[in-house]
């Protein structure tokens, strides 16, 4: 059996399905439901077996077209930076507020992707977010929590 990344993914999915199936069996159901034809754990149990079946087949059967990914040509660094920026964004948005974190998120993303036209970067972050925020909050009546704007008295 030729080991390639697709097989490794299938193996991971097989393990995941086994864990899912184990967890499905642990679902607590009401005593009167225990022997019912269908209860809260029935469907997940079938899904667990289905996951084991398909990933098991993928593992065992020969791979008709092996997908080769040239990792040297992949841009891991920028992708990882973007993901980290998004995580920081998630961590700060509730405390700092929508306007400032979103603007900084956009500005830093432009920067790390290699953009250096500062005026354009500014226009497509702070004023852009302000306009979008007005559209959501002011026009569409979708509430946006923003402690920062509240603290400086811009938002009520």
């Amino acid at each position: 059996m030729n080991i390639n990344t697709t097989k490794i993914i299938s193996l991971l999915f097989f393990i995941f399905s086994a864990f899912y199936l184990y967890t499905a069996y642990q679902i607590q159901v009401f005593a009167f439901d225990e022997n019912a034809p269908f209860n809260a754990r029935t469907f997940p149990i079938y899904l667990g077996y289905a996951g084991l079946f398909f990933s098991g087949l993928k593992l065992v059967l020969p791979e008709p077209n092996t997908i080769k990914v040239d990792h040297k040509n992949l841009e891991y660094k920028k992708t990882a930076i973007l993901i980290v920026i998004a995580i920081i964004y998630g961590a700060t948005i509730l405390k700092v507020g929508y306007f400032l974190t979103t603007s900084l998120f956009l500005f830093s993303s432009y920067y790390f992707l290699g953009e250096r036209r500062w005026i354009l970067m500014f226009l497509l972050s702070f004023p852009f977010v302000a306009a979008f925020m007005y559209l959501l909050h002011g026009v569409l009546d979708i509430y946006l929590r923003d402690p920062f704007l509240q603290s400086i008295g811009v938002m009520g």
Binding site: I67, E75, T79, I83, A86, L113, L144
Partner: protein, 498 residues
């Protein structure tokens, strides 16, 4: 039906809804033009905005985005030989050679008129077919629905996997597993939450769509160093030539459009098939029915070769609404996203939709006509200008897609756990995409997960735990046999043939 049409027109022709169709078509055209970013991404990005409107308006906006994206996809196929969406690959076979001959304007006009005619004709078919099918589907029971969902999931796995059926089926199971997180709908017992309160209500549908499409596509573009806008910089978008179609070309289109629209619509109705298969089939059929002289022109700028796939892909878009509106079962990834959005509005699509919410049912159908007209009169003259928007650098495009994704989730939950979960799912989806694991089956499975469990529950309870319900009724048995046929065919294709 006349009453329904009037209700639909009254709803669709309000200023707000006309504006929504215009915005949707325009936005969809832009996103659809970008190779790699298809209608599902465009619709996913629009979902948070639609929650500010009533369901009919929200769905009209999403439908506008859908047609716009398909239309935009054909524009980049013709101008750049870089199809924006898979459904417009066949358009490039004759559209791009025509553009190279200095007839880009004409090719765009033929594509626009064919799309318009295909979309309009199929909207007429939908007008007649949907209410009749709704009445028929009232006789469907839980076992039929369960079997139909299995068929839909198997079909989408078969059609979207490019010979990787098992990978697609793994994605189907993963989608169903994600849908099973949270409270059980009947007993309220929590499942797979690991005592995390944020998971009690399950994983949000918008979150999964945003993560697996919008955000993951943006990360894939960066990871693979793709630049969806680079091709636009290499062509002169100002010298498109005349957009006039002469009498001879028109007469060719008159013959092609009706037959391609029927193929497109019927393929669109089938679960899992959709615009891509419809356009290739229509192209192939057209090549077989034209005379030898015209056949020679195929691949070199044939009017029939361009008109057929364009008519069919738009007709398939309307056709794919049939199973969603009448059975509540989406036939494609795109309509699955729309179904999820409808459920978010608290509207349950299905055979009773046209009785319980006639304004939604009919206004979607009516808005299709309006959308087609708007695409024709708004987009055709504006194409050179819209195409220039494509010159927006990747460095701006990607952060903006990420921004819309994260904002979309934030405004729905005001919860940073959802943002982390979305990032996690997007990272996994990006990795899976690298190895050709298709995402549409996952979305369709996620949307159908709850309904599928519900129908299986009813079927098993009615049959006292026996699986005989699968062959007790002729209809259920027929659906099941079709599913088995698809599975056997896929295994034959991928294993025995190799």
């Amino acid at each position: 039906m006349i009453e329904g049409i009037l209700i639909g027109l009254t709803t669709a022709l309000t200023l707000q809804n006309i504006l929504m169709v215009m915005v949707g078509c325009f936005f969809g055209t832009i996103i659809g033009m970008l190779p790699g970013l298809g209608p599902m991404t465009a619709i996913a990005l629009m979902i948070p905005i639609t929650y500010g409107f009533d369901p009919a308006t929200g769905l009209i906006l999403m439908a506008g985005v859908y047609y716009g994206a398909v239309f935009g996809g054909s524009t980049s196929s013709i101008l750049l030989n870089a199809p924006g969406v898979p459904g417009t690959v066949a358009t490039s076979f004759d559209g791009y050679p025509m553009a190279q001959q200095g007839k880009a304007g004409k090719a765009l006009a033929i594509a626009a008129w064919s799309s318009f005619a295909g979309g309009t004709l199929s909207a007429i078919y939908l007008l007649f077919m949907a209410p009749s099918l709704s009445k028929v589907s009232l006789s469907f029971r839980s076992p039929d629905y369960f079997a139909l969902m299995i068929l839909g999931l198997t079909a989408i796995a078969a059609f979207s996997s490019k010979g990787q059926f098992l990978k697609a089926m793994m994605m189907v199971v993963l989608g169903l597993m994600l849908a099973s997180v949270g409270q059980d709908s009947l007993s309220d017992i929590t499942r797979f939450t690991f005592d995390n309160m944020n998971l009690t209500d399950g994983i949000s549908f918008v979150l999964v769509v945003m993560a697996t499409f919008a955000m993951s596509e943006a990360l894939t573009i960066i990871l693979k160093r793709n630049d969806p806008t680079s091709a636009a910089k290499q062509v002169s978008l100002t010298e498109l030539g005349s957009i006039k179609i002469n009498k001879e070309e028109r007469s060719k289109m008159y013959k092609t459009i009706p037959r391609s629209s029927i193929i497109g619509f019927l393929i669109g109705v089938l679960p899992g098939a959709g615009a891509t298969i419809a356009s290739f089939l229509a192209y192939g059929m057209e090549r077989n029915v034209v005379n030898d002289e015209e056949k020679e022109k195929f691949g070199k700028g044939s009017v029939n070769g361009l008109s057929a796939p364009e008519t069919a892909n738009n007709a398939a878009c309307s056709g794919s609404f049939v199973p969603m509106l009448t059975l509540g079962i989406p036939g494609s990834g795109t309509t699955a996203v729309m179904l999820g959005a409808l459920l978010g509005f608290g509207v349950q699509p299905g055979p009773r939709l046209y009785m319980t919410n006639p304004e939604i049912f009919w206004s979607i159908i009516m808005s299709m006509y309006i959308g087609m007209v708007i695409l024709l009169i708004l987009n055709l003259p504006l194409i050179p200008y819209i195409a220039r928007i494509l010159a927006v650098p990747k460095n701006y495009l990607i952060p903006l897609i990420l921004f819309f994704s994260v904002t979309g989730i934030y405004v729905m939950s005001f919860n940073n756990f959802d943002i982390y979960l979305m990032i996690g799912i997007a990272v996994v989806a990006t990795f899976l995409r690298l190895y050709d694991f298709p995402m549409p089956p996952l979305i369709l499975a996620f949307v159908l997960g709850g309904l599928m469990e519900e129908n299986l529950r009813r079927s098993l309870l009615l049959s006292n735990g026996s699986w005989e319900f699968l062959w007790d009724r002729t209809l259920t048995l027929c659906i099941l046999l079709t599913t088995i046929l698809i599975v056997v065919w896929q295994f034959y294709k991928s294993i025995i043939k190799k």
